[in-house]
Symmetry: C2
Amino acid sequence: MDLSQMCPKYESAVEILGKKWTGLIVRVLLGGPKRFKEIKEQIPDMSDRILTERMKELENNQLLKRHVYPETPVLIEYELTEKGRDLEPVIAAIQDWGEKWMSTDV
Amino acid sequence: MDLSQMCPKYESAVEILGKKWTGLIVRVLLGGPKRFKEIKEQIPDMSDRILTERMKELENNQLLKRHVYPETPVLIEYELTEKGRDLEPVIAAIQDWGEKWMSTDV
DNA sequence: CCGGATCCTAATGGATACTG
DNA sequence: CAGTATCCATTAGGATCCGG
């Protein structure tokens, strides 16, 4: 009868998803591979530092892959892994709930 | 093209769900109305202070109702509202994703 | 039984300036 | 372009003791 012991994976998942901007970043990447700048443009309120931090976390957690194309200037793209793309229904569920229940005045 | 402006409800929802223990508390309450002590027993790693804090947040966000029965000693029960019960599919989605992708060694 | 009050530490995240 | 580095304010959350 110890839920915290029984559901460590739930809390682990929340640790990733619960961080600010993470869901939005994944959303952007669900639209296909994107560059740092493209993500920034779609989420302008997020600072460079935070975006960098989130990208590293997402890469460490294998939610995305970082591709480096050694052109000039260098081209770097971020692409969701299967694990990352698999978040789509989760994000959709949160989104639906938010749309249904959260008031707009925030 | 500004996701942070377009999806305020998503982030608002995450602000609630993203906090530690919140999902587990809702899970416990999905099993029916519970008392403070009953919740504690199912999530022993959580401190009293945090549980109190979460319960207030959940009440303020109308995810649960607090019922006070003036017996001796006083009996207090917490019950999910429709808004709270509606989190079930969201929590299930997170849980499924966690089960599928998170490693056990945490 | 159901918390409240207080204290303290670590984590989070925003702003800004700078770099290969 | 794609980040680093630094600084700082806020928040999260654990421990402990107190009270109706």
